[in-house]
Symmetry: C3
Subunit: 427 residues, 3 copies
C-alpha cells in the first residue's frame, strides 16, 4: 500500500516531474527501426514521457527526434516534407535538421537572420538492436546505451514487438516484475504455447503451485527467485530480473526455447509502450517460431490493423470467452499471455489506486522495485544510478535446480551472466 503522494511520485513522468527527471537519465526505447526505414523516410509521430515528438531519418541517414510542433506557429511537423537534409514544415516551409537547427526559412526575406535564432527542441536518437533509442536528458550526461543481450545479436536470433497499453506504465511494469500471477492468470496456457514446449521445468511449476519468493538486489535492479520443491535435496528456482528503470526478463523453459523480456515505457501517464522480445543467443529462429511471433503468440499480440494497439481491448471486453474459461482453456476467459496481463492491468483503472491495495509476501518484488525507484529519486544526479552502466543490463534469467542450502543468487550467479556466443542455461 502506498500513500497518495508516493503513488503520484511513481506514476507521473512528464517534463519536470521527479520520476520524469529520473527516466530522462536513461536511454529510452522509442521506435522500431522499421518505423523510420530508409533515408528521407516518412516522418512519424512519437510520444514519450508525455512529450509529443516527430521522428525521421534525413538524407544522410541521421535520425531526427524533434518537437512535433513547429517553432513558428505550432503546426504539427507530421505533415512536413522530409527531403534534402531536413524536415520542412508544410505550413510556411521552415526546415529543421536532425539537431533541431532551422536550416531554411523561405517565408522570410532573403538575408533574414531570423532562421539562425530558431532552435527546435531535439533529442539524440540512435539505432541499436533493431530499435531506435532516444535520450531525452541533459546532453552533458549522456550514458552509454544499455547492453541487453539481444541488442548484440543478428536479427535472425531475435524478435521484438511493441504494443500500446491503455494504463499507466507502473501497473504494467509491476505485472512484469510479478512472478506470482503466472500460476494463475496464465495457468492453463503454459503448455500450449509453441514457444514453450514441455520441459523439465514445467513439471515443477505445476506440482508446486505455492512458490516461495525471495528477492535480492542486483547491481541494476532486482533478482526475483520463485522457489519450488523439486526433490528431497533440491529446489527448483525460476529466476527473473528487473533492471532499472523499466526492463524485466523471464527465462525460457529449456535452453532450446527463447529468452523473453519487456520494457515498460511511459507514452504519457495514461498509456505506455509494452516492448516485448524473444531471442536465442546461439540459434536462428525457425519457421514455426517466426509464424508464432507473427501470429501474436507468446508474449506478443495480434493488432488492430494499421496500429500497434492490441485487437483485444476494453471496448470489445478483451474478446472474453466464458465458455473457454469454463473449459479451463483460459483462466480469465481471455486468450493470449499478453492480453491476460493487460486486461487485468487495465481493469485497475488508468492509474491503479495503490492506496487501496493489500500486498502479501508474494508481492515482495513489487514492493522492493517501488522502493528502489523512490530511492533513486534522491540520487537523480548520481552517475551511479542502477541501470546506467551497460553491464547492469547485460544479464540473463534462468530456471535451475539448486541444492536446498544454496542461496539462489549465489548458486545461479554464473548462469545469470551473459556469455556472448554461448547458450544460456535454463531447464
Amino acid at each position: 500500500m502506498l500513500t497518495r503522494e508516493q503513488n503520484d511520485l511513481l506514476t507521473q513522468t512528464g517534463p519536470g516531474t521527479p520520476m520524469g527527471n529520473l527516466f530522462r537519465r536513461y536511454w529510452i526505447p522509442a521506435l522500431l527501426a522499421e518505423e523510420i526505414e530508409g533515408n528521407d523516410c516518412d516522418p512519424v509521430r512519437v510520444q514519450l514521457l508525455g512529450e509529443r515528438l516527430i521522428a525521421f531519418r534525413d538524407t544522410e541517414g541521421h535520425i531526427g527526434l524533434i518537437d512535433e510542433f513547429c517553432s513558428h506557429r505550432t503546426a504539427s511537423l507530421y505533415f512536413g516534407r522530409n527531403e534534402e537534409g531536413g524536415l520542412r514544415c508544410a505550413y510556411h516551409g521552415w526546415k529543421y535538421d536532425t539537431e533541431g537547427n532551422c536550416v531554411d526559412m523561405p517565408s522570410e526575406p532573403e538575408g533574414s537572420k531570423f532562421c539562425s535564432k530558431i532552435k527546435q527542441r531535439a533529442y539524440k536518437a540512435v539505432e541499436a538492436g533493431g530499435l531506435i533509442w532516444a535520450y531525452m536528458g541533459d546532453p552533458d550526461r549522456e550514458p552509454p546505451l544499455p547492453n541487453l543481450e539481444w541488442m548484440g545479436l543478428d536479427p535472425e536470433k531475435r524478435f521484438i514487438s511493441k504494443r500500446r497499453q491503455f494504463s499507466n506504465y507502473l501497473q504494467a511494469m509491476e505485472g512484469g516484475i510479478d512472478s506470482s500471477h503466472v500460476s494463475f492468470a496464465h495457468r492453463f496456457n503454459l503448455d500450449d504455447d509453441p514457444l514453450h514446449s514441455g520441459t523439465e521445468g514445467n513439471k515443477y511449476l505445476k506440482s508446486d503451485t505455492r512458490p516461495k519468493f525471495e528477492v535480492a538486489e542486483s547491481d541494476g535492479g532486482l533478482l526475483i527467485g520463485a522457489r519450488r520443491n523439486a526433490d528431497e535435496k533440491n529446489y527448483y528456482w525460476r529466476i527473473t530480473q528487473w533492471m532499472m528503470p523499466w526492463y524485466t526478463i523471464i527465462p525460457p523453459f529449456g535452453d532450446h526455447n527463447p529468452m523473453g523480456g519487456h520494457a515498460w515505457v511511459p507514452i504519457d501517464d495514461e498509456t505506455c509502450w509494452a516492448w516485448s522480445w524473444n531471442y536465442h543467443p546461439t540459434k536462428d529462429f525457425g519457421e514455426r517460431e517466426i509464424e508464432a511471433f507473427d501470429a501474436g503468440d507468446g508474449i506478443h499480440v495480434k493488432y488492430k490493423p494499421g496500429t500497434y494497439d492490441p485487437l483485444a481491448s476494453a471496448e470489445n471486453d478483451y474478446l472474453m470467452d466464458r465458455a473457454a474459461q469454463r473449459r479451463k482453456e483460459t483462466f480469465s476467459g481471455i486468450a493470449g499471455i499478453a492480453a491476460q496481463d493487460f486486461s487485468l492491468q487495465e481493469s485497475m483503472g488508468i492509474v491503479a489506486d495503490r492506496t487501496k491495495e493489500r500486498l502479501g509476501t508474494s508481492d515482495a518484488a513489487i514492493i522492493l522495485a517501488r522502493r528502489r525507484l523512490l530511492a533513486a529519486l534522491d540520487d537523480v544526479d548520481s552517475e551511479e544510478l542502477p541501470g546506467l552502466d551497460p553491464a547492469h543490463t547485460s544479464v540473463r534469467s534462468t530456471s535451475i535446480l539448486l541444492p536446498r542450502d544454496v542461496p539462489f543468487q549465489e548458486g545461479a550467479k554464473d548462469v545469470l551472466a551473459v556469455k556472448p556466443g554461448e547458450n544460456f542455461y535454463s531447464i
Copy 2:
C-alpha cells in the same frame, strides 16, 4: 426552480452524499434475476449509486454482490472464476465468498493467516419478483423488502424490463411523476399501443386536454390526481402514485389492460436504470401482449444488440422522423412511449439545471416530491422514512369517475389498495 445547492443535494447519490445515504436505507432493484441465472453463473458487472460491483451466484445458489476490484491489487473480479463456493480473482487467485470473506489465497505460503484479514466489501442481495435486490446500507437497519404488487405474482402475470438512461436519475424520475406531459409527448400514441386498447378513459383524456392537478401525500410518497371533466355530475380522475424513494406507478386503461410502473435507480450521477414493469393481478399475459413486450412496445424499448441500451439514442438523434411528426403519428418525431420520454429528458443535459426552470401548477407533484426527498434527508436515520414499510409500496393506481364534490384521495381510497387475488379497478 431550485438553488444550485438543492439541485446538487437531490442529484448526487455517491457514497457519503446525503442523498446517497438516504437511498442506502432502501432495498435497490439491482439486476434481472436472469442476469445471474444458475449456480456458479458468469459474474456480471453492476454499478449502483456510483459503486462498481460484481454480482454472481455461488455453488449453493447464494447471491454475491461485492466490490468489483480485488482487495489485493485492485484488478477487476469481472475476469474471475466463479466455482466451488466463491469468485476467484484471475490475477493471483484470491477467492471470495458471497459475504466478501477471503476463503483462499493460493499465492501466499501454506499456513499464512493473511487470508483471514482480508474482507472484500459485500452487500446483501436477494431474489424477489424476478429481480435481484441489493441492500447497500447499514446491516443493522436492513428493512423488509418492498411489496410492490407484481413481486407476489406468477411470472406469467408480469413483465419487467430495464434500460439504461443517459441522464441523472432525478430528471428521469420526474418524468415518471409528471402526469401532465402525457397529453403532449405521447398525445398521438395513446390509441395505437397494443397494451392500451380503447377504453372509456381514453375518451375523457382526449376531450379535456387541460386537466387540473391535485396532489396529496400518501404514507409512502404522493398521490397524484389529474382531474378532467366527465359529465355534469362527475369528474374523471387519473390517479398515479410516487413511492419513496424512486417508484412510480400508472393505471391501465380499463381493467383488462396491465398496470404499469417504474423504478428510477441511479447507476452513477450521470446514468440511471429505468426499470419498467407491466402486470395484471388476475390474468396471464396473452400472446399478443408478450409479443408487444418483446418488441419494446408500450413503456418498454428495443435494445442495441447485447446491451440494455435503447436503440434510439442521442448518437442517432433518437431515430427522429420529422415526416411522422408532421403526419401526427408522433408528437416529437420520436417513436415509442419510452423514447419519447428519455429523448426529452436526456436533452436537458446530463444533470438538468433546475436553477433555470420555470414551474407551473402542473408541476405540483414534482415540486412536492423534491420537497419530500429533501425533508427525508433530515430524517435519514428514522425508522419511519416513507417507503420503508412494505405497506407503503403495496398500492395501485386507477382511473375512476367520482362525484364532483368528493376528494379524489377519499373517493378512490378503496381501489388504490392492493387486494391480492382481486382485479384492480380502472376505467
Copy 3:
C-alpha cells in the same frame, strides 16, 4: 507571441467574455438559408459563440432564433412542433413565437396568466445573400447588415458553403489572414484547381517565392499586400483583406475566375464555422464551376454524408497520402486547399498555444489583426467599431501590377472598391 492572458482574451467568446461581447456587436452568419427553407420548416439546432439555439421559420415566414432549452423544464426545443405561428415544446406543449414570447401554455389551467410571464431568450435573425444572419447583441444598438459584395448578387453568381472546423476560430481566421502559407501548403495545387486556371498572376507567384509583405489599416480591418518582383519597373501585388470581426477575402487569378472569401465564426471556443464563398459580379457560374463547387473543389470541401463536417478529419489522418506528397502532387500529403489548411490548423491543438510561437515578418498581418481585435475590446461600446459600417465590408481583393514606387494601398485603391454591376480587376 502572446501572453497567456492575451491568448485567452482573443480566443474566448462565450456569453460575458470580452471578445464575446465584442462579437455580439456584429451580425453573425448563422445558417444557410436552405437549412430552414419554407414556412413551418423543421427546427434546427444552431450553436454560436457558445450559445445553443434553435432556428425555425414560422407560418408567416418569420425567422425564429431562440434558446434551445424550454423555459419550463429545460427540455430541448429541437423535438418541438413548428406549426401555426410558433414552436411548441414536445414535453408539455409550451409554445413560443419567433420573438420568444410564450403564446400558448396548454398544460396550465384556462385563464392562467403564467404564459405572459415567460419569455424565451430570442435573437433577431434575417435572411440576406442566401444566409440567415443573427444579431445576438443589445437590441438598441443593432447595426445595419454587412454589405459583402455577394450579398447583393443573384444566386447564379455566388456559391456559399460552410464546414465545421475542430479548432478555436482564431487559428482558423489567422490562416485566412496569412497570405504567406499559400506558397507552401498549397504550392503544388495552384494550377490544378478548375477555379484558378492559368493566368498571368500565377507566373509571378511561382517565379518569386519570397514575397515581401506590407500591411496597411483599412476602415474595416487590414489591407494585406504580398509584393513580388514582376519586371524592372513593376511589382506584382496580391492584395487580400481582413474585415472586422471575422471576414477574409482573396482575389481571383484573372477577372474571369471567381473572387473568394471566408467568415470564421465561433461555434464555441473549441469549434468554428468556416464559411466559404466564391462569386463573380458579372458572370453566372458555368456548369464546370458548379460541378467543381459541388465536388468540394477550391476552398470548399467534401462532406461526411448528412453533415457539414469535412470527410478529411483527424480521425482518418485527413486522408494523408505520403506517395502523393513525394510525387509533389500535394505539399503536405493532404488533398484540397481547405483540408490543407484545417489539417495544419487543427494540428496546433484545440486552442493554439500562442505563448510558444515565434513570429516573423511574414506574420505581420496576423500580428496587426490581433492588435486591432484587442484594441477593439476597449472600444466595445463605440459606434465607430471597424466593420460595423456596411461600407467597411463592401470591398474587393485584387492582383495587380504597380510601378515600384507606388504604395500598394494607393495604387490599388480604385480596384479595391466594389462597383456594382462592374467586373473586378485582377490579373
